[in-house]
């Protein structure tokens, strides 16, 4: 089945519709990149969409009763059940279509949105159930690499070396000491049609991945992991969110790729990588690291890049420049 080009690919942000679905007036932090992600996501998805939101920053900041920033139906129930909640909506729509309660040809995008805590930790079981059943839901993870909504506690998605309020840096602990969980590979292991990583510093790449993820719903679920630089938790100036996000990809810390029907492709090749120091030095969460520790992180990134190149079958992310 070819779903090629059903949703228009964009070349620049000017190709996105001007209509706003995720509207202004929310309570996200100044400089928060989650708003940018949600705005782009809803512009790509359009009005025939239902959003299922895990408890987290986006949920609390966009639906403070009696207000809402969503012009599409939006549902939140708990922290760890977003996958199951999305499945329930899909099943209800399917059943009501079969029974003629809603028109058979009515297409509705069901999109789940969760942070890293609600996705890679507490919501993993529910997400896995949804992916394994093949329920047509696009799951968008906004990954800010810790429990930011509750005050910057570490999650399974916190990277090596990062200070958080539960992995503080001292004589004994030097920030987080375990590597970041590879959630995109875990999602891909379910054999779903489309998995991708995305970054708001590359908005057209991100928008097109949302579009592809929605097209995939004709066959099954899709999963998009979006890096979400967090001014509050990563400790950087609110003006630097996109700069830091771009550095994450330019250093090879957060490579951009997609797994389309099992085919792995890096969507943003990097000819010459920047040193990881460029990325780390702008963020207060890494301020405690010594030069040796930074070099160690560089080695971890080198190893990750090697793995990515192996998966791609060629060198798509180059050496340090």
């Amino acid at each position: 089945m070819s779903s090629e080009k059903k949703v228009k690919r964009i070349k620049s942000l000017f190709d996105l519709p001007r209509d706003e679905i995720f509207i202004s007036g929310h309570g996200l932090c100044a400089g928060c990149t989650a708003g940018t992600i949600m705005r782009t996501l809803t512009k790509v998805a359009g009005k025939d969409t239902i959003i299922v939101n895990a408890t987290g920053c986006v949920e609390v900041a966009t639906t403070r009763y009696p207000y809402s920033n969503w012009l599409v139906p939006w549902f939140h129930s708990a922290f760890e059940n977003t996958g199951a909640s999305a499945s329930g909506i899909v099943a209800a729509i399917r059943a009501m279509k079969k029974k003629g309660i809603i028109p058979e040809d009515k297409k509705v995008n069901v999109i789940a949105v969760g942070g890293d805590g609600g996705t890679v930790d507490i919501g993993l079981q529910s997400l896995s159930g949804m992916l394994e059943r093949g329920d047509p839901v696009m799951y968008v993870l906004y990954d800010n690499e810790a429990y930011m909504n509750t005050g910057i506690q570490r999650s399974g998605s916190t990277p090596y070396g990062a200070w958080t309020t539960t992995t503080p840096a001292g004589k004994v602990w030097r920030g987080e000491w375990r590597p970041k969980k590879d959630i995109a590979s875990i999602a891909a292991a379910h054999g779903i049609p489309y998995v991708a990583t995305a970054n708001p510093a590359y908005p057209s790449d991100m928008a097109n991945k949302f579009a592809k993820g929605l097209e995939a719903l004709e066959e099954g679920p899709s999963f998009i992991q979006v890096l979400m630089a967090c001014t509050t938790g990563w400790r950087f100036d609110p003006s630097l969110g996109i700069t830091i996000s771009r550095l994450a990809t330019e250093t090879g810390v957060f490579p951009l790729y997609e797994i389309d029907h099992g085919e792995f492709r890096v969507t943003f090749p990097v000819a010459k990588r920047k040193h990881v120091r460029e990325y780390l030095k702008l963020q207060g969460r890494f301020a405690h690291l010594t030069d040796e520790e930074i070099e160690h992180i560089q080695k971890l990134v080198d190893a990750q890049v090697e793995k990515i190149n192996k998966r791609a079958g060629k060198t798509v992310i180059g050496p340090l420049g």
């Binding site: 809402s68 139906p73 549902f75 939140h76 199951a84 909640s85 329930g88 209800a92």
Partner: protein
């Protein structure tokens, strides 16, 4: 016992009676996870769907937590939705129980009551259900397979009523009912749907009319929203009664919200529910002949608590023996229902003597002579300061 129309009745256990009700109600979505002794409910429904006898989406979730989560979202998307569980499954759902009632999701869940771990026990008591009593759900106990079938049908009629919009539990005893075959009259889809036509959630998730469901409520609003739930569950009582009366008119079987059995001439009552109520109905005529002036106060509707009926039935009695099959550890009475009865007694200025009895924990066997012993205890009265743990080896 209900009059049995022998020609029309079929042999069904309560689990299968419930599955048949789900089929006759043309439920759209079933979201469930298997747990003993509920399993044959979901197996039977799966069979109905597999054979095309029920056109529905069956969500094979990976846990009870997800079972109820998906049931809520399905229900607020507008589908008639069902789930079923027991024991650890109900405990795992606990967080989501509160969300179901808070979001006013009109769904129905059957609970084959079973004891809670540890130690693990797959057998019956009611520790699971009483642990869930404060979650804002309407709760009905059934005492026969027929009543379970009928109650599921009644439940959809009142939960989907715009004046109610709350989830409901139909609870019955694991094994003692779930796996016990009784004669059951099933009514078929046409009659059942005519009685309980589908009323889709009025604020459903629909891109034509976008709504935000499940926002964060700051201190200026949270309290009022919870108070609306208080009003909703209290206000549901007359509607539940009305549905039961309509049901009786339509099908010839009515149950009321609380039942007093052989209460005439009784100076003491045993308050119990589900299979124990059915057992007592079988034994009481004989006990009465033997001179025990004891009747049965059968708890059918538990939430909202039918206080008026309770006062009506207990205002002139001497002793009220309350049987709890759950333990409220460290509470004034160790039986949760006994505590509530003590509260009701004070609130309404009632004069009876409370005898709190815990029995049947982990399905400790209760035979005729055990029910006789309880009836005797109720008949004799006397002050029991502490909860009696009937049948325990100390």
């Amino acid at each position: 016992m209900q009059a049995i129309e022998s020609k029309r009745a079929r042999p069904l256990n309560t689990n299968h009676a419930i599955a048949n009700a789900v089929k006759d109600l043309d439920v759209d979505v079933i979201s469930a996870y298997p747990i003993t002794p509920q399993t044959t409910v979901v197996e039977k429904i799966s069979e109905f769907v597999a054979k095309g006898e029920l056109e529905a989406e069956f969500i094979h979730v990976e846990s009870e937590h997800s079972a109820l989560s998906a049931a809520i979202s399905s229900s607020v998307t507008g589908a008639r939705t069902f789930t079923a569980t027991a024991s650890q499954g109900l405990a795992l759902m606990h967080e989501i129980l509160h969300i179901a009632s808070g979001l006013r999701a009109p769904l129905v869940m059957s609970v084959a009551m079973r004891s809670l771990s540890a130690p693990i026990s797959i057998w019956n008591d009611q520790g699971d259900l009483f642990n869930a009593r404060d979650a804002g759900w309407i709760i009905l106990f059934a005492h026969t397979a027929q009543e379970a079938y009928d109650s599921v049908i009644q439940a959809y009629k009142f939960v989907e009523d715009e004046r109610v919009l709350l989830p409901a539990i139909i609870a019955y005893d694991g094994y003692l009912m779930s796996h016990t075959i009784e004669p059951v009259v099933t009514e078929g889809r046409e009659k059942v749907i005519k009685f309980a036509p589908k009323r889709h959630y009025p604020y459903r998730l629909d891109p034509q009319k976008p709504v935000t469901i499940g926002p964060i409520a700051p201190p200026e609003y949270y309290y009022e929203i919870k108070y609306q739930q208080v009003k909703a569950i209290n206000g549901s009582l007359p509607i539940i009664e009305e549905v039961d009366k309509d049901f009786e008119k339509e099908f010839g079987r009515g149950y009321g919200i609380m039942e007093c059995y052989m209460c005439e001439g009784a100076n003491s009552l045993i308050m119990t529910n589900a299979s124990y109520a059915a057992s007592l109905k079988a034994f009481l005529p004989e006990f009465r002949e033997q001179g025990l002036k004891v009747g049965l106060l059968r708890l059918r509707l538990y939430r909202p608590f039918p206080l008026k009926k309770f006062v009506e039935y207990t205002s002139d009695i001497k002793n009220l023996l309350v049987v709890d099959r759950a333990i409220s550890y460290g509470a004034p009475y160790q039986g949760p229902l006994a505590n509530e009865v003590a509260g009701a007694k004070v609130k309404e200025g009632l004069g009876f003597n409370i005898i709190s009895v815990v029995a049947g924990i982990g399905q400790r066997r209760m035979d005729r002579e055990d029910f006789y012993a309880l009836a005797r205890m109720a008949h004799e009265g006397g002050r029991h300061e502490e909860t009696v743990f009937y049948g325990v080896r100390e």
